[in-house]
Symmetry: C5
Subunit: 377 residues, 5 copies
């Protein structure tokens, strides 16, 4: 799917979805398989308040007689590698060609589309709780059926299957639209653990930027911002999609279910809210990081300046008295060298100079936390 392993250290980088599309100019409704797509498995769950059937479908001919026997028929197709099967399902349930094209054209944004025979819902499910990578789930919601297509085995729908199997659950009394809601709710709740992990990552990074900025590379902050950007790209249309379902006057969504979708919409708003907050914090971190880099440069330069400023002048004095002027040629040629206290005097001069410099740096607040008076000027 969207994880393309890049070489070396950046191996965890998520690439941005670049839709692999039908060639430009092809007829709408043209189905083009992703060559890496896996072969489909079909699972049918049909139920009413008092009846329940669950079966793994091997061939289309097993499927057809079973449709319409129960109040709700849920057909879950995992793997999009068999275009012929998808076309036959399309014919069986009168699915629109444009919608079918979007089922196999992965990297769709979450959306709802109303067609005459059914509503078409695209959502994106977290594929792996440790990353913002998602997998496309397409749903066709009709009066008595729900078709769901997902890319790969493994989903977050198992608790719902368990609720359906147990006869007492409220969900058995409801229609297909409530099942669709339950699946969407599970998909959206699946984002919270990912966000929680990201929040922890961000807080650890925040602590490190503040306590030990030297250990951080700007690339780490960039990477978390990028992950949040990808997450936001998925969550934002998710919100619009649920909102559209809440408002839409689709004949396939009942008012009762709309109340539940409103709750689901509320969760998408919470997701957006957390993502945006994290993004703002991550953006602020860049500033903190940059200023810590500058502060460390100041530290380094202070050390250099203190040492150089003290010793270069002293070195110069030593150099002067290392000159070889011929004292015998003139009484003015370095008479200091012959003085009785010459050497101690020069050493003393150097010490005074060094102490004065140290005091100057102390006053400037560069050493030993000094500088109090001056700062308050």
């Amino acid at each position: 799917m969207t994880v393309e392993q890049t070489t070396g250290k950046a191996s965890t980088k998520r690439t941005i979805d670049r839709k692999r599309r039908v060639p430009p100019g092809a007829a709408p409704g043209t189905l083009v398989a992703d060559p890496t797509a896996s072969q489909p498995t079909i699972r049918l769950i049909a139920y009413g308040p008092d009846d329940f059937e669950e079966i793994e479908i091997a061939e289309m001919k097993e499927l057809e007689p079973r449709i319409g026997k129960h109040a709700v028929t849920w057909i879950n197709i995992t793997g999009l590698g068999n275009l012929d099967l998808i076309r036959r399902l399309g014919d069986l349930f009168s699915l629109h060609g444009l919608a079918l094209e979007d089922v196999v054209n992965l990297h769709q944004r979450p959306k709802v589309e109303e067609y005459a025979e059914h509503a078409f819902i695209v959502t994106r499910m977290i594929a792996d709780a440790s990353s913002p990578t998602t997998e496309q789930v397409s749903m066709f919601l009709g009066a008595q059926f729900l078709l769901t297509f997902q890319e790969r085995p493994g989903d977050c729908f198992e608790p719902i299957r368990a609720r359906l199997r147990s006869g007492r659950a409220k969900i058995r009394d409801r229609q297909a639209d409530y099942l669709a809601y339950a699946l969407l709710d599970a998909v959206i709740d699946g984002y919270f653990p990912v966000l929680e992990a990201m929040g922890e990552r961000l807080e650890v990074l925040e602590d490190r930027v503040i306590a030990r900025p030297a250990d951080i590379e700007a690339a780490e902050i960039h990477e978390i911002k990028r992950d949040l950007l990808l997450l936001r790209r998925t969550v934002w249309p998710q919100r619009e999609m649920v909102n559209a379902l809440t408002r839409e006057t689709s004949p396939y969504v009942t008012d009762q279910t709309r109340l539940y979708l409103r709750d689901c919409y509320d969760h998408t708003i919470q997701l957006m809210d957390i993502v945006e907050t994290y993004r703002e914090i991550a953006t602020g971190l860049i500033d903190v990081y940059l200023s810590s880099v500058s502060t460390r440069l100041n530290e380094i330069m202070k050390v250099l300046t203190i040492i150089a400023t003290i010793f270069i002048p002293l070195g110069f004095i030593a150099g002067v008295y290392g000159m070889n002027f011929d004292r015998s040629a003139s009484p003015w040629n370095m008479p200091e060298l012959g003085w009785y206290w010459g050497y101690p005097a020069v050493i003393g001069l150097m010490a005074v100079l060094a102490l004065w410099m140290l005091y100057y740096f102390y006053r400037k607040g560069w050493i030993l936390g000094g500088g109090g008076k001056q700062r308050r000027r």
Copy 2:
């Protein structure tokens, strides 16, 4: 609640709410208790224009006969640790399951939801005036009752209870919606002291950044921005919530109360306005801080450059006359060393060079505030 103590110096950091939710795929309306929630205490205040009753309820059976006896019944539950009690209250007042789920699922954003039997209001109350940490308050507003759930003992409703107890207050003549307004108003007014404290913190920081930037760490500015971000996250939906109540055509809010809610809405706008202004000032502070860091670097480099630029050339001259060329081998080998005025001349040359450099730095405006003419070029 949302304060998680982190180790060491960053101990005041507020973490971002990461909703601890019902497991994905659970049936809607599933109540899951926060294991740290405290056991509830129930306080009933029922009143009409001429009657008043206040009682601490120990068991549900004490509660039931008291309902509907007065014009308004206010039941305040403090502590969410008893799910069974909450379920029984839900049955008693026909509270909707989705709303009840939100009562125990803390970290809700403020919102209003209309249900057939009642309006459901979530707000967030400042938990501690010294920080932007908040506690969730959930309200169910029915025709004759108001249920309020709060997480912990301690709230800002005491003045309202006092007004209710004193028979003369206008609030005794009004309906449950006016009581809900009064509570919301108290909650929102509770934000002002927190903002005031934050404004003082910001101004102190501002003064320090301008007067003594060396004492500041960027992390301090980051922290105040973060606190403002958290506050904004709470205040913004608070505003939407009050606005929804003002507009909503709920049968439980009367037009008369709507006028008061408009005033309350006005206060939320003031809150937002102050928060946004603080955020802009804090963002501007980062720029001031960064430029002060750069300016100090310039200061440091000036000192280094002045000292090194003066003494390195002088040191070189001293070094030249410290060379040991054999004067006896050639008249061209360092004849200066034998000159009568050799040493004074070299010292003089050094002095001239140093003065010329100092003048150059003065002209550049690096020392003694010089550079006037040149700057005006």
Copy 3:
């Protein structure tokens, strides 16, 4: 009012309004006086096309018989220190309690509120043309009366009083709503001189940043941005307020006056436009300032590098020939010292090295504006 003098150099800083409010939980309509508020003076101006009366009112009982005698009665209260008086005025004109609360609760944002008996208008008047500090003016507009409350003596309404006194003015033929418009127009026009002063300040700063960046402190740019922020906070709701008056279907504003309010609205848009333009320029200045700081650092480092790069190698050469190897111990020990042209050769080598370095720096464009060819690489 909002100017709190802070100590030292930042004495001109304006603090952000932090509403001193009624304690949380107090009954709505509770009037709490600002302890520093001054005692009110009341001036009544009543007029019709052919009649005019102006009087300073000392006691409420003087006021009552005068109401309703003329087409328009304008009562201007200056000073909010007498809550009792305000309550009695409220009773006399049936003013709503929530509105009265806002009259004494200063720091209101400009707004319009429709009540059954009157419209309530809050605006903010420039208190002092040299700063963005404002004073709250509250108006109650009824069918035949206009009440205005202001905090302190001194306002921008004198020209309007003069027009009222002169019998020929069009304003005498109009209703109370036209008077309210005239006052609002004067308030809004009062912002232009403040903006003009701020524009001049900004342009002076701009010239200085560009011509003499070393003289500037980032804090100066921050301060102007802060003042613009405060001004924007006042002007923005001012615009909304006038717009609301223009659209509102209030019975107290006639269509004819609405035409004039549209003109007034136009002025608020001009104000916003200028404020926003100034803010963008000030924000751009920070970038210019930061880059000038960096450019100066480059300048400083160039000087250091040129000097150090030329003299450190030369000093090293001098140092080599200052070594004391025993030439008598070996013919390989510093034979150069005994050469006939040894010293001139070394001096020559040094000169060549220095010139080559200078040429290198010239080619790099660091000195004497050189570097032409290389830059075009």
Copy 4:
């Protein structure tokens, strides 16, 4: 007008319009002349499909008998120095006082205002193709007349006059609203050459920032951003103004002309689009500039570091063997000085050290484009 020449190098700076207004509190409709306004000249062009008259009007009495004789009467007043004339024109055509006030109050934003007797249109015409400076053009559009006021001689309407004079032009068959459209279209098309010039300026600057950043001052980028800001301030309300004309249900604009105004609106969108694109590019340039300043600092520091790092240790070694310890006092006192290969060994040691340093810098990629291997770590 808005060009105020400032001294010295910043002489091309455009100041921001600061409206010189009627004194606050003056009666609406008060006309206050700009003391620098020039005396008006009046040109009347009246025409119908088959008739045409063009005349320079010297006195008002020449004007009156000519009005209403033709299908369209266009009166163009150039210069606003005669308030009396403007007032008499106002009376003659029943122009509204508020609109007349805006005619002489320059620095209006483009806008449309509907009055009972006429539509009032303000637009801004490029005054000089080399700068974003504009001049106010005010139009009164009535059923059969169009009055236009401009500040100074010189406009972009000459081609329209030529089309009117030539009898065959479609414009002669149309009403006054089409003439207004034609003038607005000419005004808006006049912005394109200015934008084109600015685009070239920006591209030249862009090339220079990338190729020779040392030649650039941040102030140049700031100036172009400022000019774009001023242009945007004019173009944005221009767009709103044309849009209002397109939508407005004014009786003075026919549906046929609305089609043409839609085309004109399209041009204003193109203008905005180009201005915004330029602004984004200019903003990006600041980043490129700042990073080039930093990169040059790195370059400078590399040179300094390489030289200092090589020669300071070598200088130290030379210094050691320049010490004057008394070799006769002890065999441990600098015996190296007496060794046979002492001097060559020390020179060799220095050479090895220098080469090792150079190799280190090469490995770090600081010199000769080295560092390949290390970078790929």
Copy 5:
């Protein structure tokens, strides 16, 4: 078209469209040819469910008899160099003059305009998959005809022509509006490969900024941002255009086709979404780049500081003992020089000093990854 080759290295830079327009003041509908426009070739494809005709038209008189013979007539004009031909086509199909003006006035933004006789659609087609350069395609959609104008030979419509030629395609059963949709869909799908290329460029740049920042110039990031800006400028109005077609109640677009346009609209949203994501990533890259520049400066300065801080003091000590004080003049003049262990003691002192400095730098974490303890303070 919009690619103007600039000299030297910036040769790939795309300039911003600066509309070459009709001179200001010209009559609307004036056609002005671009002098570089090529001569047109006309290709007619006419078809119905059972009939098909494709012909290259050499002269207008060949065209006229063929119009209206089939259900749909598609006339594709390539090259805009013959204004006379365009005018005659305009007369033949009653095309509006303003629309025709836009056909030859290149650099139009994508848009839809409804005229009485036809809808006028402007879109922009990718001219070359390796750059964001586009070419204008203008369409006139009537009841039974579609006219398309493009600037140059070469387009993305070939697959559609192939579908038309093959008799079985659904497109043959539909009306002209479906053909227009098919062309728009091909145009929009043509953007995806360009975006894909840009995404790869961005990711390569991202990897390089993180792994080898020294190799990057800020200008490269600026260039990709600029290309994204240009692409966004084209894609954004493209979206609005398709949206307008979807909503518009044009009689020329049937409800059935609207369903397909909704799918097309969905693709434009995906385009925008990818462009905006890329822009945010590119903006983040600048921060990473700047911080890497700063980090490298820190690295450089650390090397300089370590070397200078160690060797300058050592050099000073060596300098002291290189002074030539006359030991015979006084016992206090450099007695150390005569001590038995003098030289080894000084060398030892130097070694101790150097080791202590190295330890200090290690503790600071500047060398050998030290500093662990201190950082955790």
